[in-house]
Amino acid sequence: MAGWKSPSENTVLGKPTPRLDGPAKVTGRAKYAYDVQPAGLLQGKILRCPHGSAQIISIDTSAAERMPGVGAVIITAKPGDIMRFAGQELGGVAAKSFDIAQDAVRAIKVSYKVLPHVVHEEAAMKPDAPNVRGADPNTSTPNTRSTGDTDAAFQSAAAVIEGTYSCAVRTHNSLETHGTTCKWEDDTHLTCWASTQGVFSVRDDFAREYKLPPANIHVITEVMGGGFGSKFGAGYEGILCANLAKKANAPVKLMLNREEEQIAVGNAPSATVEVRMAADGDGNITAVDAKLHGTGGISGAGVPFPYIYKVGSTKISQISVFMNSGGQRAWRAPGHPQASFLMESAVEDLAIKLGMDPLELRMKNDPSKLRISQWREGARIVGWDRRNAKPGNGKLAGNGRYKRGLGCGAATWGGGGGGGSQCKVIISNDGSVDVEIGVQDIGTGTRTYCAMIVAEELGLAVSAIKTNLGKTSLGYGVGSGGSVTTGSTAPAVKRAAEAAKEALVSAVAAKMGVDTDQIELIDGKVIVKGESGKQVPFKKACSALGPGGVTGDGKWDASLQQNGVAGVQFAEVQVDTLTGLVKVIKVVALQDGGVILNPLTFTSQVNGGVIQGIGMALFEDRKMCQLTGRMLNANMEDYKMPGSMEMPEFVSIAFENPTAKGVSGIGEPPVIPTAAAIRNAVLNASGAALYHAPMTPGRVLDALAAGRKG
């Protein structure tokens, strides 16, 4: 079977193609889980513990049950249970209106014994801290590992740096919050419109919960507004919604509000490293001695370290810190953006100590050949030779209030696919073409490339292909995590399109009385090779098919995907030395993704990664209060995310990998190096060495003042 054609042979694939559901999304016609309104719909609301840590003494739902308009009250916690973070769920209500549901939840009387909490990482690590996990300590057993002889390497080093680098907990803050609309069709059949990045994992969660065959559960996600790793499975809110619907005998919608989205459904853990790093006179990184910790609240945390670069010898000790806040979940390249910020910051400081161009040091220690060529190309595009030779000191920095500088960082990721995907391409005898696969489009453009692949095979325009995605009633598709969606889905779609094409060609060839290998599908026509004039429009040719048309089935094929992608980013920033404000002027991002199906949605994903990287670098910080045990900024006012004015010039480049044979997903890698590149650019611009992200105006002013003192 055929592989992907080279870019020059394609007519559709590899060409920038606007996403098919874009107009529906921006005009509001697209139906999200929130927009579904089955007849008799009730609104759900969750009851949550307001305390950082508390034991439930009693729960009285009588007032809520009596309230007119309340359809169901469900309590999932019981007296004696310990609540471990502010926001933990106890149950919920479904009612005729959202206001009634909210009033009813507020009418449930819960009596608590408030227990001591700890919500700051450093405090949680202290021996006298309140115990978050019952009998277990707040810190995990250290994960220690070592290679080579670090002592010898430090002794013979040409330069050694020592420092503590860290980054804050961030929340996913998906614009569409978590939640579902659930409707029981009968006692054993559930339809669930979910905001999820895994319709099949949601289905399987419900099937397990209700001990029903998976086929009895129908999960639908035609469009969704972001998950970033936090939306696999039915979740507490999904199961509660279905239970409320069952109890009330009516469909129920339960979507979280912005506060709930921030406190209870995941976050990206913090990471801190106390590190010593050494290099020899040639710029080889010879030793890394690192102690790491991070918190994922009530769940564990960890980052890969050292990150990316070859290191002669290592001594690593790593722990998770547990505290009374909502648990972490996968967040776009779990652990990698944090690891990149810690590692690339230290590498930058090491290069400066060594008196070496930081890019040269990186290239010297980078094991990836592909990235070496990306470093060269990126440096040329951004004008790396413009950078200030010394931090804060050079022509680019200038002598004024605003200082400019350049920095960089690198990314690695997998992005290959896995088995199981099942796609159908159906050509009907009226010439219509449908592509069907159950996989959801998390927003990256899955729907669009499915149509593009089929259009390419059948010689049609993308607009001629109808897409049917995001439903468990269709063939299996993977969950969108680990950037595996494209690597898992695109091969099955291609194989299904090929099979459908073969069936069509064979029917048409028989009718026209020619051999199948004489038939070509080009530009909406069926053409007989070598016989000029012997051609029929695609639609007309399809009338050769029987009333059932033809269906091509496609399964995953490993040969059409590949694993392992490389990326580098360069940032140019401007530091306002009087206010500490950092403006990202430009980000040059070079990202490899194997064979690139749609360069437009590819660069769109890179832009999105860069934007979230800017958020990590400059703005996002989940703030907890030790006095109250509560999150202080569970909103989009004080939990600051980049807006339109924070956008840089994007130079996002789909980097052509000359050896690529297969497709790779790239949802995750472009978010990895941005924060580090910005940190290093701030240092290059102004001499302000920042050790913690986000780099707020206050921290930048402090670092500038420290720099002035020397």
């Binding site: 009087l578 404000l581 703005f619 703030k623 109250t628 202080l632 004080d638 980049p642 003042a705």
Partner: protein, 328 residues
């Protein structure tokens, strides 16, 4: 939100009566940007909401040789785009333009901007009963306080959120108030009150009183003004620190100076120290910096907001230079 009765009076006296009758159970609704979010978050739980929107005559900007008379219902976007305000009352136009986002400026009113409640994250959390809500402590003192007051704080350390108030104050504005005891006019300088005076409100309005108009005298010849707002996020954010400055100059020397800070104190914070450093001087970078230093000389930062001291010093310096038309 808690269910409430909506009252729709058509004139000011009707609004005053309704609000007076409602007493502490009543809230006044103008643009609703602040009140509705307070109600949705159960920070405000009125039984009666008096809607001012149907009251006529409160949505006009009147400009004359004597000055401006702005109805309390005039939207911030109408102020920002008014050519006379931009030309002669520059700080006010700049302040209005700096508020939130275009959508909010199209709905938010000047009266609401002056009377909005603090953004303190303890005050805004239903589950925290802080000093301002009848509790016994200001959580900002020992808690997280990076956005809190460095001047005029205690016993509460909120900052006043208004951008327009400092600009109006440097322009010498006053507010017309209607209430159950009749009408009164209060200089904006005397309108806002510190927590030491009253913990539960940020201005002098009594129950039943409504701000109906804001009047601004025409600036003296040779007056220039500027509002500079530093926000962490340029797209839409509150002031970390801001400064409104109005300077009147004669023969190159400052004859009158007004400096009012935002984002740093429980009220829009007039700085006589900064003003004193400017009067009689020709504005230079050194003089502007001296004004900045004077503005923060008495600053008392909490644990997490010390950065506001150098920031505010620089903000005053930059605002003074800009108002004076001097390159920094």
């Amino acid at each position: 939100m808690k269910a409430f009765e909506l009252v729709n009076p058509t004139d000011v006296s009707g609004a005053v009566s309704a609000l007076t009758a409602a007493g502490r159970e009543g809230k006044l609704l103008a643009g609703g940007i602040d009140l509705l979010s307070e109600m949705k978050e159960y920070i405000a739980t009125p039984s009666i909401v008096v809607n001012l929107k149907a009251v006529s005559g409160l949505n006009k900007i009147e400009s004359s040789a004597k000055g401006l008379k702005i109805g309390a219902l005039v939207t911030l976007s109408d102020i920002a785009k008014h050519p006379t305000i931009a030309a002669k009352y520059t700080a006010l136009a700049e302040a209005a333009e700096s508020v939130a986002s275009p959508q909010i400026r199209h709905v938010g009113t000047l009266g609401g901007n002056l009377c909005q409640r603090p953004r303190c994250w303890y005050y805004r959390d239903e589950h925290v009963i802080c000093l301002k809500k009848g509790g016994s402590k200001c959580y900002a003192i020992e808690g997280e306080n990076e956005y809190h007051a460095i001047l005029g704080g205690g016993p509460s350390y909120i900052v006043h959120p208004s951008d327009c108030a400092p600009a109006l104050m440097v322009l010498g504005a006053s507010v017309d108030i209607s209430g159950p005891k009749g009408n009164r006019t209060v200089s904006l300088d005397k309108f806002f009150i510190l927590p030491t005076e009253n913990l539960y409100k940020e201005n002098v309005l009594e129950v039943g009183e409504i701000v109906t108009h804001i009047t601004v005298p025409a600036p003296a010849a040779g007056t220039t003004s500027h509002y500079l707002k530093i926000r962490h996020k340029e797209s839409m954010d509150w002031a970390l620190s801001g400064a409104a400055v109005a300077l009147t100059a004669k023969a190159g020397k400052v004859t009158s100076a007004k400096v009012v800070l935002s984002g740093v104190a429980p009220v829009p914070w007039r700085s006589p120290e900064a003003e004193k450093a400017l009067i009689g001087k020709q504005v230079t970078t050194a003089i502007a910096d001296r004004a900045g230093a004077a503005a923060v000389a008495k600053a008392k930062p909490l644990g997490g907001n010390a950065y506001k001291v150098p920031l505010t010093r620089n903000v005053v310096r930059l605002a003074v230079l800009h108002a004076a038309g001097v390159k920094g």
